[in-house]
């Protein structure tokens, strides 16, 4: 099993969710996060004084899948979340040791 964690632009969340549904992903977890990468921050203006917003709002999407689905998930997210402009985000893939469905106690791939 793999845990795929993708940092994306917030307005791309719906597109990513749809793309993942199409390839059979059963569930995802989305979190509002803030961070910076090469895009850095941007400046805002309040009563004539500029200030820098260092951490930009992003959405982190986490998906746990069977290992053989990993490439398709990564491809779907990449395609759906891409704008070609700076700040599109990143995808990280982790090995996932175990998963348990709390309701039934099922484990492993059955629990996904």
């Amino acid at each position: 099993m793999k845990l795929i964690s993708a940092i994306i632009k917030p307005f791309k969340l719906d597109d990513v969710r749809e793309a993942l549904s199409e390839i059979g992903v059963q569930g995802i977890t989305a979190t509002e996060v803030k961070g910076f990468g090469r895009q850095k921050g941007h400046t805002e203006l309040y009563r004539g004084a500029e200030y820098v917003v260092d951490f930009l709002p992003k959405v982190k999407v986490e998906i746990a899948v069977a290992a053989d689905l990993t490439d398709r998930v990564v491809e779907a997210i990449t395609k759906a979340a891409q704008t070609g402009k700076i700040g599109d985000g990143k995808i990280f893939v982790f090995d996932l040791e175990q998963s348990i469905r709390i309701r039934t106690g099922e484990t492993g791939v059955d629990a996904l």
Binding site: E44, R47, G48
Partner: protein, 415 residues
């Protein structure tokens, strides 16, 4: 004929009371504007300040203020220091007719005047936001609403020496707004800037307000209340001439606010490259303050112009005060003080009775009196009880240190 007189008395009294209610509602406007322009961690404290200053203003004005401001005195400088107010008008006096006959209830006059005091005091609360000790502020409110405001009010509206000099201030660009701003300026000087507002090299750090919808709502409430503030100050509605005058005041008040918004928006856009919302809101209030000294005589076009100049002035004034490191989170000193001065001068454009000498005399007198006495009171309060919260309390927010609660509590547990 008597029935008509009685009806007119009832109508003018009713008009006075409804106007007073509109001005009372301005307290809600100030509360929302200020709550929107401070950070979330200082919201509850600014709200309790607004509601408690209103209550203090009402009680102090009842006890001494009203008598000082409108009581008869032998001197044109030293008012009558008495308590409470006399009996209301008798039927015979009203029906007697003539110029001296009362045409509205004494109590309605008190009610209308008392909400003006609260307006002047509200101006101070925004300027000292986010760093002042609550009870020091309330102690100042007692002195301001009981003595400082009524004494200068006596000089003009009570028939004192400024009135005799020909100083014109219809609804209080000077007596109410500049007076409040002068006290606010003294407070800001004694208090100092919020931590982190200014850098050592003089550059300004933005401290954005938490809630722009509230700030906008507050501005609209103030705009609405201002129809009572200026319209009620005509004091009479019950004949054709007076009804026309009241209508003209409503129109001019509205036009000045509109002019102020547009002018401040354009000024901010040209200066910053962005259309600054809070400057547009301050522009509306600047237009209203500017027209308050003479909302009757100008044509609607002139009123729009007077408001628009106010809107330009307020943007430059806010930037200028920041250059001087005078930290006013909501722009109260600029809106009510600097633009109030402009309003007093603009009276001479349309009011033939106004002279520039009399206007400047009134301006300097009211400003100097309020500023200097306030400065002494603030320094005294600083020595006696301190005026500023500690650095740590300021960092955590005065909601926690002064009120013990958060305006928007999260992660609370009911266990």
């Amino acid at each position: 004929m008597d029935a008509v007189k009685e009806l007119a008395y009832a109508m003018d009294t009713f008009y006075f009371l409804v106007s007073g209610v509109l001005v009372m509602w301005m307290a809600a406007g100030f509360a929302m504007l200020e709550a929107g322009m401070v950070r979330a961690k200082n919201t509850a404290e600014i709200l309790i300040k607004n509601v408690s200053l209103f209550a203090i203003a009402c009680i102090m004005y009842m006890l001494v203020g009203y008598s000082i401001m409108y009581g008869s005195s032998d001197s044109s400088i030293i008012p009558n220091f008495g308590f409470l107010f006399g009996p209301d008008n008798a039927k015979d006096a009203v029906l007697a007719g003539g110029d001296d006959a009362p045409y509205y209830s004494v109590m309605s006059d008190f009610f209308f005047q008392v909400v003006f005091v609260a307006t002047a005091m509200s101006i101070v609360s925004g300027a000292v936001a986010e760093r002042m000790k609550l009870w020091s502020f309330l102690a100042f409110a007692v002195v301001m609403t009981g003595f400082i405001y009524p004494i200068q009010g006596y000089w003009k509206w009570g028939g004192g020496f400024l009135d005799q000099l020909g100083f014109q201030d219809f609804a209080g660009s000077g007596v109410v707004h500049m007076c409040g701003a002068a006290a606010a300026l003294a407070a800001v000087i004694v208090l100092g800037a919020r931590k982190g507002k200014y850098n050592a090299d003089g550059s300004v750090n933005a401290i954005p307000g938490a809630n722009m919808p509230l700030a906008t709502l507050g501005t609209f409430i103030l705009w609405m209340g201002w129809f009572g503030f200026n319209g009620g100050s005509e004091l009479k509605l019950s004949d054709i001439g007076e009804a026309n005058a009241v209508a003209a005041i409503f129109v001019n008040t509205n036009m000045a606010a509109a002019g102020g918004v547009i002018a401040a928006m354009i000024t901010a856009r040209l200066l910053f490259g962005k259309t600054d919302l809070t400057m547009a809101l301050n522009g509306a209030l600047a237009g209203l303050v500017a027209i308050t000294a003479e909302p009757l005589a100008p044509t609607p076009i002139l009123a729009t112009f007077v408001g628009a100049i106010g809107g330009v002035i307020v943007v430059f004034s806010i930037l200028g005060l920041d250059k001087l490191k005078l930290d006013d989170p909501v722009g109260a000193i600029s809106v009510h003080g600097i633009v109030g001065m402009w309003g007093l001068i603009a009276v001479t454009f349309s009011n033939a009775d106004a002279t520039i000498v009399a206007q400047l005399t009134g301006l300097v007198t009211i400003f100097a009196w309020t500023f200097l006495v306030s400065l002494v009171v603030w320094f005294a309060l600083k020595a006696i009880m301190g005026v500023r919260v500690t650095e740590e309390e300021e960092y955590n927010g005065v909601d926690l240190s002064e009120c013990g609660l958060e305006a928007y509590p999260e992660f609370t547990s009911t266990k």
